[in-house]
Symmetry: C2
Subunit: 122 residues, 2 copies
């Protein structure tokens, strides 16, 4: 798959909230995933497809998604960008908030090898 | 300047279409600038602040900007993303078109050392 094909598939699957299918079909085993901040004070960088699966499992359990908008993709060479605008409630904290961020993805040999998430700064 | 400070300044200057001031104050001398496609069939990658100045000079001469929207920034670590939606006319071709793309910027020691432009794919 070309970068553009991978990018379009990510958008399609994220619109369906099919995060696990996206990982299973589009992610390299040695994916590096970088958040703006770590959730537990550790490193914001995760390595390996199982760590990313764990993050998605946590997200699905922890968050109730009310609405989400997935914009893009923006594509050039081995890179693409997708924008996420999500309205969620943290189930445990019972706190509703709006998340706006972009994912910057790097593709190698048809698989996503790196993803970085950048929150919107007001 | 932190990545966030550089990012906010880029947004502020781009909203004023002060591209030259952005380059003079925020770009490293050895900036690498990557377009999705080259304009002349050569490399889409330019090196050095003078090459980037040349690109901006070309843009200002070639394009009449009717309207532009600059969204963001999205920021994490040494990276930030800005979205540009621009309504322009190519003066020579007399062709009006809408451009939607993101810039992915990398910051090192308070200066932008790399920028990549990724057009929106429909």
């Amino acid at each position: 798959m070309t970068t553009e094909e991978v990018a379009k598939k990510v958008v399609e699957l994220c619109r369906k909230q099919a995060w696990k299918e996206a990982i299973d079909t589009l992610y390299a085993n040695d994916i590096v995933s970088v958040e703006a901040r770590s959730m537990d004070g550790g490193s914001p960088e995760m390595k390996g497809i199982d760590a990313v699966r764990g993050k998605v499992d946590w997200w699905i359990k922890a968050m109730e998604v009310h609405d989400s908008k997935v914009s893009g993709p923006f594509v050039a060479h081995d890179r693409f960008v997708v924008q996420f605008d999500i309205d969620v409630t943290d189930r445990e904290a019972k706190k509703r908030f709006q998340l706006s961020e972009v994912g910057v993805y790097t593709v190698k040999e048809g698989k996503i090898v790196r993803e970085e998430f950048l929150p919107k700064v007001e």
